[in-house]
């Protein structure tokens, strides 16, 4: 019994060290925003299939973690779904920001909801708690359940800046979730819910509303007709070199940007 346990430990150790030795040179770690994460995962997958010796780890954590990880060098590349703040740039002086895509923020409701269009003012009033019933905006007589991201989220920051403005706050009893996916799950299972959601997360489980007549489509977002669009950034500490540069070049290449479009985001080139 004792022997077999020792053997198991040894095997596990061997496995770990063997793996460590094999991929050492071609490893890239990407950390940060959960909004950018799925896109980065797809891009990494494709990059790795054409460069089989490279291993890319994509981890979530959030935009702030992405900025910190890139700035402190714990990751090769950081991901942020918001602008890098001035104080962060002051802290990490060498940080370079690479815009790899643009992302619309959609206002989504449960598919059963009959409302199809809201104005920016109506959205602001709903999220700040001035409008509390769907009947006030042409829907059924039902109380509105507001769902939002937690404080510190890049999507929330962008939404606050572009929709809520300086003074309006998201009402206190909004349901808060810690990722875009979790927000989508709640909206898709809660009949009278409303939330804001990255374009990349849109699917048939939720219904995206037009804002002031502008449908949440890629064309409208890139032409500027759709009002709520923010950049998705990859961050590096200093100018990218070697593998990091190769990966960034791929992301901004025609192939990379085609994948950006495929995933529901707006290409930058």
């Amino acid at each position: 019994m004792r022997k077999s346990i020792v053997v198991v430990f040894l095997l596990a150790g061997l496995l770990l060290s063997a793996c460590g030795a094999a991929g050492e040179t071609g490893t890239l770690s990407i950390t940060g925003s959960t909004t950018v994460q799925p896109l980065a995962e797809k891009l990494a997958e494709s990059f790795m299939s054409s460069n089989p010796d490279v291993q890319i780890d994509v981890q979530g954590g959030g935009s702030s973690v992405g900025v910190k990880a890139a700035g402190e060098g714990t990751s090769d590349i950081g991901m942020a779904s918001r602008e890098v703040k001035a104080e962060e740039l002051a802290q990490f002086k060498n940080m370079q920001v690479h815009v790899i895509a643009r992302d619309g923020i959609a206002i989504v409701v449960n598919p059963e909801n009959s409302v199809n269009d809201l104005s920016l003012d109506q959205i602001r009033d709903i999220f700040s708690g001035k409008i509390v019933n769907w009947s006030e905006v042409g829907g059924a007589d039902a109380a509105i359940t507001v769902v939002a991201r937690e404080e510190g989220s890049g999507t929330r920051d962008a939404f606050m800046e572009m929709v809520m403005g300086k003074d309006a706050l998201i009402l206190d009893n909004a349901i808060l979730q810690s990722s875009n996916g979790a927000v989508r799950t709640v909206v898709s299972t809660t009949p009278n819910a409303i939330a804001f959601l990255s374009f990349g997360y849109l699917d048939e489980s939720t219904k995206a509303l037009s804002i002031g007549g502008a449908a949440p489509t890629e064309e409208n977002a890139s032409s500027g007709v759709y009002p709520v669009v923010r950049p998705l950034n990859l961050l590096t500490d200093g100018a990218p070199e070697g593998l990091v540069k190769a990966f960034l070049d791929f992301v901004l290449s025609a192939d990379g940007q085609a994948m950006v479009r495929e995933e529901g985001y707006i290409p930058v080139k």
Binding site: M1, R2, V8, F9, A12, G13, L15, L16, C19, G20, A22, G23, E24, T27, S29, T31, T34, P38, E41, K42, E45, Q55, I56, D57, V58, Q59, G60, G61, A69, E72, T74, S75, Q177, S178, S179, N180, G181, A182, R184, T185, S188, G200, Y201, D203, S205, E263
Partner: protein, 311 residues
């Protein structure tokens, strides 16, 4: 205790008296109350059946050999299987045990086997032993998110290990340490003092006695503790949520991140619409916990059989 022992005798001629009316009333109350106790236990078992049954029935569709042996595809679809998360879980379990098992067993040996030496020894050692006992009690009660927060502050940020297997394993080791220490202590206490005295009387040193006599006798109990820790690690999420990063790929070094089964279940449930796969993952988790419980049961049965033989 059987029913017969408990029911007072009832001679026939007392039936009509008020004493027996009282008795009958008390017996009725007892029957009713016992009925309620049966009901409560039935509810507990039902809750288990409903939760486990629901997870298995909804997860059944996604369960297959392919599900277990293909890697998750990543992205938002929740496509793919769970192979890499199973392997990451195994890595993490192995790493944590490599760190925590020697330390925990060592600590327990000191706390039990060196007790009397300690009493004779200086005040420092006595104070240390008390502190160690307090430490184990406290660690056992600390919520896992605190271990996560600690791991995040110390290993991920201060020591710059990042979100990695290493950070998660160190934080996880703190989590299971009290379990290993306590079960080892209990195992050591069941070894008869006469065995130790015999060995010492034959001229063996204390460490020879411990390593050659006491530990072999305590091994089954210690293994139980280690298996318990395996269960604890498999079902833990909060610690790894803030220390392991969550990459769905296979980790290729101690410093790369990863995703355990429970963490994968959480991501599937929260980030994708793949409920069936989440439930399938849940079913795999529950099966592993059942296996672990069965193994522990087996060992403790063997143990008590052994004790009976000795007697």
């Amino acid at each position: 205790m059987t029913e017969q022992e408990l029911t007072p005798m009832k001679p026939a001629d007392l039936r009509a008296s008020s004493a027996s009316a009282n008795l009958r009333k008390r017996q009725t109350t007892q029957k009713l109350s016992f009925g309620l106790l049966w009901l409560a236990s039935l509810i507990v078992v039902l809750v288990l059946v409903v939760v486990v049954g629901y997870v298995f029935i909804t997860g059944f569709k996604s369960l297959s050999w392919d599900f277990l042996t293909t890697a998750p595809k990543g992205g938002l679809s929740g496509e793919g299987g769970i192979s890499t998360t199973i392997i990451t879980t195994i890595y993490l379990v192995a790493l944590i045990l490599v760190i925590a098992a020697p330390l925990g067993i060592g600590a327990a040996i000191f706390m039990i086997e060196y007790q009397e030496q300690t009493k004779a020894g200086g005040k420092f050692v006595q104070a240390l032993l008390q502190a160690a006992n307090f430490g184990v009690e406290t660690l056992a009660g600390i919520p896992s998110i605190i271990f996560g927060l600690f791991g995040y502050a110390l290993f991920v940020s201060t020591l710059q290990f990042g979100f990695s297997l290493l950070s998660a394993a160190l934080a996880g080791a703190c989590l299971v340490l009290p379990t290993i220490i306590r079960t080892t202590q209990e195992a050591l206490l069941t070894v008869p003092v006469s065995l130790r005295e015999g060995s010492l009387a034959l001229g063996a040193t204390r460490w020879q006695t411990i390593s050659k006599v006491v530990l072999p006798a305590a091994i089954p109990g210690i293994i139980t503790g280690i298996i318990l820790s395996v269960g604890r690690i498999i079902s833990e999420t909060a610690v790894f949520y803030v220390t392991l990063g969550g990459s769905y790929r296979l980790p290729n070094s101690l410093l790369s991140g990863g995703r355990t089964l429970s963490l994968h279940l959480f991501y599937l449930a929260m980030d994708t619409n793949a409920f069936e796969k989440a439930m399938g993952t849940g079913a795999v988790l529950i099966v592993s916990i059942i296996i672990i419980n069965l193994v522990i049961d087996l060992i403790s049965r063997k143990l008590s059989a052994g004790v009976r033989q000795q007697q």
